[in-house]
Amino acid sequence: MEFAELIKTPRADNVVLHRPFHPAVEGTLCLTGHHLIFSSRRHDNAEELWLLHSNIDSIEKRFVGSLGSIVIKCKDLRIIQLDIPGMEECLNIASSIEALSTLDSVTLMYPFFYRPMFEVLEDGWSSFLLEQEFEHLSSVTNEWRLSCVNKEFSVCPSYPPVVIVPKSIDDEALRRVALFRYGGRFPVLSYYHKKNGMAMLRSSQPLTGTNGRRCKEDEKLINSTLRSGRRGFVIDTRPLNVAQQARAKGGGFEQEVHYPQWRRIHKYIERFHILQESFIKLVEACNDQSHNMDRWLSKLEASNWLTHIKELLTAACLAAQCIDREGASVLVHGSEGTDSTLQVTSLAQIILDPRCRTIRGFEALVVREWLQAGHPFQQRCAQSAYSNSKQKWEAPVFLLFLECVWQIHRQFPCSFEFNEHFLILLFEHAYASQFGTFLGNNESERAKLKLPQKTMSLWSWVNRPEELSRFQNPLYEANSLVIWPSVAPQSLQLWEGIFLRWNRPSRFLEEAEEERINIIKYNKELQAKVNVLRRQLAEMETDGEVQEEEP
């Protein structure tokens, strides 16, 4: 297919661009296969806007006489308006944008066409291999092994080719366990707590059905992570009644009789459309500047967004507490094990593991616990908060995770190597990107699409020193402790960097942030200078002593 067929009017002049808190600019609008480009024709620093079509969530047309306006709502939540003279031109452009922003085929997406302008220092596609993670693990324990049972994605289509499992369980047993777990997602190691040797496993629900099916290998697998005589915890992210109802559809939960060493805790986390609705409501509330205080607060409340954040943080704290405080192993799952499960396991690691609070460690966490673990990014992030269509697969699951990290970051601002911009970057790229990292729903799809060969990885770009410096937190001081966040409503805040980003002038806040960075930078310079001076003095001193010794 040629993009040219979709572009009826490739260029329009005298277009006026409106953005909140910016003066309107007149210029030329161009449409290419993947971008909407606006350029003011002013010679002095000409203003340009490059917008990926895939970043466009919805568009609206309005006409006043022959002047048409297109309101473009983006997945990063920004809203812009283009006034285009000429009704036909405006209609053409609108329909082109509509077509180009809703391409069906993944292989037509921009990452397949993007040619990087930077030198690749490290191929991000192989930056975070599970083999490396396992090597790290092997240095502290030999209770685990790397299994290639899923090499051809035949045992579990949503798992990566290699997984970490208890050493005592062989591949044959894993195949049998896979048949007992929804989607073949047998329990695998998510996190090993070096401090006390406890493990966090994740899986999908067991297929017990109504007649209480059991699977000895499954029991053996998870029991093998327990110290003798100790109990473990199953954290089920569904409420009890939902878990019970799941049995009628062949699903279920671990029953006490068959898992006597495990205590089951149901910690309910909302799913799919409920989250998507909440997201839409919150963005609506934030975008309306005319709300009086009561209306704003009641809209904020009605969105339930912060409730989801609190529930999620509470569940993650619970998992972390079981591991760190109770000294117990934990198995986390919901139904499919691809959404709420991953939220809980990845957040628990942020709390427990200082490595996950570094830039590289956090990237590794996203790769391991989200991409490789089979969170269906393509389905979940197909549309953002402005979508009108009622597709049921969209949900801001990953955004909620990022926001929870941000909430913890707010409470421990010195314990993270990255800053808020890094989290915002991940949010943006999960929804629309020139990189292939977040395309596809799992590793199997990515392999079929040959993404590592055909597209550039986000990590290749972001891990270059000049990019990385933008995402570093100047306050960072490595903190080896477990960080327990407060989940009191008074301690939680609206993530303004995402939700109010386009709704208020931010110049003063940005300047203040810059000043903070300057103070820290200046401190480092001064310390370096003092050290140099001292060394010089010390040298003079010894020189002087040598001279003094000469009579």
Binding site: S298, A478, N479
Partner: protein
């Protein structure tokens, strides 16, 4: 210590009010003449000033003892469990008596002795000089003059002696106008904007009833608008909701009739009265004090309390006022009912938006002295300094501080002071430890001889101003006399956790960016000094080395310095750095307000 029946009770438990696991500390409770003191087993001290106690409640006996809940005016809530009911009862009774004071002379300020001599005490009181402040604003001038009409508090008891009025306002006009205004509070100058030649004036409501007029009052307003050469009309801002103002007419009070006053633009701005504000805060505290609060209960409680709505209303009014002056160059007369609550809020916040001086530490003190203390905001009644009418209590000043805090959040570089400064002022408005806020008006303060018998708070705050400096402050943030324009869309107003949960540490961020930046900024100054010294020494050394004289004792000074500061064992900086890194509880020191004074 006449009230203390049993000045010391052991094995008392202090509960964490938000902990779900009933965490507690065990320790000993002491009752002194001024404070309640709790020392836990690890020797940590919790001091509670008797004057800070807003309410004491004895809960029903439990198996572990008798619970005693103390609520403080600085929003600290402590929950003790006393093993024996009799002890609990005794403490309860003692606290009830100790926290209620009948006479000003019994307040802490009259016994507080910071070991200053008399001249220091006098100098302390002279630190803030309002005459100097009016001079700074540019008055007296061709249009405004100092009036001696109230020199003996004859015209208005609750105003200060020295008042600035338009030159054309003669004494009969002043007297006539004051008779037509509630409590005699006639229109006077609160702030003069040099560049725009426009003024903020303040007064109380006119006694207009349904139709009464007063020519002198009309002349007074005319004099104010004529004192502004750049604009002939003036605004009259009635800060009350229209309905309240109309209801007042039935009592012979009311508001200005635009037909009777030439060139005025009359405007209601709808800030609620002290009673609404009191119950709003009560509701807010009930919500925020709930254990195991859900997000939605918190948000709906916040909404139902109306608290943020009121804060927004106050700030909206201030923005309206400041814009009238800065954009239209129009003078504005502000009033409410008596002109000492909402009027003080709006005038002081308006001036704060207009004039960057009030965004400095010293300037903020001046602003409070001027618009709150001297113009007779009834601190004693509003903060319940003496045992009195509970219906007079209202968090009007707290709202002012909260509005300022909201501004500091929006303009992080515009203010010389930080949040700790606002919290510390709030602390002392209620502590009755210093004389500044005692009493309801200047006349009363003079009668109490506060300047001889008590100390002023401001020099103490200035002495420790390092704690209150905003490390991000940029004095050039806004040029002199340019308007600060806050965004007052609802989502900008946040719950002030550090005010209402100042003492609930579990709710605070575990690492404070403010403290860290403050320390770093402070350390930078020290490092700059060190570099200067090192460079100086290095030059001396260099000379020494050239002279190569073994008997040159000038080298000794360098050697001394070497011993003092630069040997390798000295790791002052790395120590500081490690202090940051082990940040967990170490950096949490938001507990600014612990009343750690002598007792």
């Amino acid at each position: 210590i006449e009230h203390s029946v049993e000045p010391r009770v052991e094995q008392v438990k202090l509960l964490d009010r938000f902990s779900t696991s009933n965490k507690s500390l065990t320790g000993t409770l002491y009752l002194t003449a001024t404070h309640l003191l709790f020392i836990d087993s690890s020797q940590r001290e919790t001091w509670i000033l008797h004057h800070h106690i807003a309410a004491v409640e004895k809960l029903p006996l439990t198996t572990s003892g008798c619970p005693l809940v103390i609520q403080c005016k600085n929003f600290r809530t402590v929950h003790f469990v006393v093993p024996r009911e009799r002890d609990c009862h005794d403490i309860y009774n003692s606290l009830l008596q100790l926290s209620r004071t009948a006479k000003y002379e019994e307040l802490y300020a009259f016994s507080y002795n910071p070991k200053q001599n008399e001249s220091e005490q006098v100098k302390g009181w002279q630190l803030i000089d309002l005459a100097e402040e009016y001079k700074r604003m540019g008055v007296p001038n061709d249009y405004w003059q100092l009036s001696d009409a109230n020199r003996d508090y004859k015209i208005c008891e609750t105003y200060p002696r020295e008042l600035y009025v338009p030159r054309t306002a003669s004494k009969p006009i002043i007297v006539g106008s004051s008779k037509f205004r509630s409590k005699g509070r006639f229109p006077v100058l609160s702030y003069y904007h040099k560049n725009k030649e426009a003024a903020i004036c303040r007064c109380s409501q006119p006694l207009s009833g349904f139709s009464a007029r007063c020519l002198e009052d009309e002349h007074m307003l005319q004099a104010i608008s004529k004192a502004n050469p750049s604009n002939r009309y003036m605004y009259v801002m009635d800060t009350r909701p229209k309905l309240n103002a109309m209801a007042n007419r039935a009592a012979g009070k009311g508001y200005e009739n635009e037909d009777n006053y030439s060139n005025i633009r009359f405007q209601f701005v709808g800030i609620e009265n002290i009673h609404v504000m009191r119950s709003s805060l009560q509701k807010l505290l009930e919500v925020s004090g709930t254990r195991g609060l859900s997000v939605n209960d918190f948000l709906s409680g916040l909404e139902n309390s109306g608290w943020l709505r009121h804060i927004k209303a106050v700030l909206d009014a201030a923005v309206f006022l400041a814009k009238a002056i800065a954009v239209e160059s129009a003078s504005v007369l502000v009033h409410c009912s008596d002109g000492w609550d909402r009027t003080s809020q709006v005038c002081s916040l308006g001036a704060l938006l207009l004039d960057s001086y009030y965004r400095t530490i010293k300037g903020f003190m001046v602003l409070i002295e001027k618009d709150w203390i001297s113009f007779g905001h009834k601190f004693s009644d509003r903060c319940c300094q003496l045992d009195g009418d509970p219906k007079e209590i209202s968090p009007v000043f707290t709202q002012f501080l909260e509005s300022v805090w909201n501004l500091t959040e929006q303009f992080p570089q515009a203010f010389e002071y930080n949040e700790a400064f606002l919290l510390q002022i709030h602390e002392h408005v209620h502590s009755c430890q210093f004389g500044n806020f005692l009493g309801n008006c200047q006349k009363e303060r003079e009668e109490l001889k506060l300047k001889e018998k008590t100390y002023s708070l401001w020099p103490f705050l200035l002495a420790e101003q390092k704690k209150y400096q905003n490390p991000l402050y940029n004095p050039d943030f806004s040029p002199e006399l340019t308007l600060l324009e806050p965004n007052t869309v609802s989502f900008n107003f946040k719950f002030w956790r550090n005010m209402y949960h100042q003492f609930d540490r579990s709710m605070h961020p575990r690492q404070s960016v403010l403290n860290l930046i403050m320390n770093t900024s402070e350390q930078n100054k020290q490092l700059e000094e060190d570099i200067k010294e090192l460079e100086a020494v290095s030059i001396t050394k260099h000379v020494c080395a050239l002279v190569t004289c073994s008997s040159d004792y000038s080298c000794y000074s360098a050697a001394n310095f070497h011993l003092n500061g630069s040997n390798t064992a000295d790791n002052r900086y790395s120590e500081l750095a490690s202090e940051f890194s082990k940040a967990e509880p170490a950096v949490v020191s938001l507990e600014y307000g612990v009343a750690r004074m002598t007792c």
